[in-house]
Amino acid sequence: MESRGRLSLKNLNVYYGKNHVLKNVNLEIPEKKITVIIGPSGCGKTTLLKCLNRLLDEGEEARVEGQIIVDGQDIYAPEIDVTLIRKKMGLLSQKPQVLPMSIYDNVAFGPRLFGLKHRPQLDQLVEKYLKLAGLWDEVKDRLHEPASRLSIGQQQRLCLARGLAVEPEIILGDEPTSALDPQSSRNVEQQLLRLKQDYTIVLVTHILRQARRLADYVAFLYLGELVEFGPASEIFSNPKDPRTMAYITGEIS
């Protein structure tokens, strides 16, 4: 378990048709830390995130070149099964996307896909991950209600629990608090800070203050280029690139 969850991107290029959206990105994402990707909108943050679990495959037009190596395996190698790649990573999207089923079934969805049918084991699993996402106490009496009845903040934590239940090594978050109220946002942030003991976390955000609160490492993307990467304290206090400086001081956004 120790060396798991390391991600490295080598010469990553992504094209949408003729648009070159990610330009030769090289990045080593350290394990069991929170790495925050910042940058103005349209800079390719979300694209980068979707590359990591090959969700870009699902669109028609995107073309990916280069390598993404997870635990020593290139995830774009032809013999790799995409469902297993995705299982290694939990995704939190901008708006919580609960599946059209009960709270319980949402969490059990992934494990069931991979063949777990034994009910007591599932029960344990659901409880464990709902607790881990800090939602158990709020929903333990209504596990079989439709998940859509939860408040939006609860829904996002359910999505977190659901993602954790497939036992990933990496958690990807695409502005996971952007649809939430401040209280729920803080709740989700707290869960993430707790989870970094066991998981590698990659977050995309456009909120600089959130980046300051959460990040161990920061990557700054600008117009598809990785401008700067380093420990959060350095990037925020002493950026080397003038563009990074301009962004964190609010001159470009």
């Binding site: 999207s93 996307q97 599946l99 999505c159």
Partner: protein, 300 residues
């Protein structure tokens, strides 16, 4: 200045009035069709009870017997056959178009379906006579050890099935496309295969809409006239199997409506048939549409 303004206002008032009159026309027309058919069907109902007309199978206008049961059954069986054939094919096709087909293939499939939707029913009927009727008579019926001229419920069902495919597919694809991409991505990122996403997430969301699409197709099938008339055989008997001929309500109207004036009660009977057809088609159609708008409102 004041004058100009008041004449402008007057003009707008006039436009408003004319527009209102025109826009009420559909209401007026719908009510008219309904009541005139009912009114024209009424004379027969004064000396025969409605159940005796609907459930009797004796159709001999010359003797004053107007049992509509064979026609109702004919309509029912032809429609059900078409429905059973069309539903699986159209649902699978619409899932393929919405979730799987690469863009190039979509660019072929979508116009194909549009063209199918646009072909006139007489063309479908002709195709049925040329290909489907011989297929049923010469190949399918012997396969089941029966004789059939080919002009049969099955032939009509097959032709009709192809005719309602585009209706069901178009509406289903629209419903499937309304399932948000982010939701599918959420399921994919849990390690689901594309088919598992379709089965557990997309279909669950889209099922009510797809059911409504099917009912809309069903209501179209009930009313289809010329194509069915050309291949169904038109024998006013209670059909015994899929290979026997039948005589659906629309065909009854098409064959007899123009020249019904001489026999007493005949006109009334045919108008009753038209009214029944209207009632059946509209109830299914409105059910589907009401449901679809309700869904639209909830998701959009």
């Amino acid at each position: 200045m004041e004058k100009i303004r008041s004449s402008k206002i007057k003009k707008e008032k006039f436009q408003r009035l004319v527009g209102a009159a025109f826009s009420l026309f559909p209401l007026f027309l719908a009510a008219n069709i309904f009541f005139i058919l009912l009114l024209k069907a009424f004379p027969l109902l004064t000396f025969k009870s409605l159940p005796s007309l609907i459930f009797s199978s004796a159709w001999q206008p010359v003797k004053g017997q107007f049992g509509l049961w064979p026609f109702i059954l004919g309509t029912f069986w032809v429609t059900i056959t078409a429905f059973a054939l069309a539903v699986p094919v159209s649902i699978l096709t619409s899932i393929y178009i919405a979730e799987y087909a690469p863009d190039q293939l979509k660019k072929i499939l979508v116009p194909v379906i549009d063209l199918l939707a646009g072909l006139p029913s007489v063309i479908y009927g002709m195709w049925g006579v040329l290909l489907i009727v011989p297929l049923v008579g010469k190949y399918l019926a012997p396969l089941f050890d029966t004789y059939s001229s080919g002009y049969s419920i099955l032939a009509a069902g097959i032709v009709l099935a192809v005719m309602i495919l585009p209706t069901i597919i178009n509406v289903s694809v629209e419903v499937l496309n309304s399932v948000p991409m982010a939701l599918k991505e959420a399921a994919l990122s849990l390690g689901a295969t594309r088919f598992e996403v379709v089965r557990y997430v997309v279909l669950k969301k889209a099922l009510p809409g797809i059911v409504a699409a099917c009912v809309l197709g069903l209501s179209r099938a009930f009313g289809e006239t010329i194509a069915v008339l050309m291949v169904v055989g038109n024998v006013p008997e209670i059909p015994r199997s899929l290979f026997s001929p039948a005589y659906p309500l629309p065909a009854l109207l098409a064959n007899n409506y123009g020249e019904m004036m001489s026999i007493p009660g005949y006109e009334s009977a045919l108008n009753l048939a038209a009214f029944l057809l209207l009632l059946i088609v509209l109830s299914f159609n409105l059910l589907a549409r009401w449901y679809l708008t309700k869904l639209n409102r909830r998701t959009g």
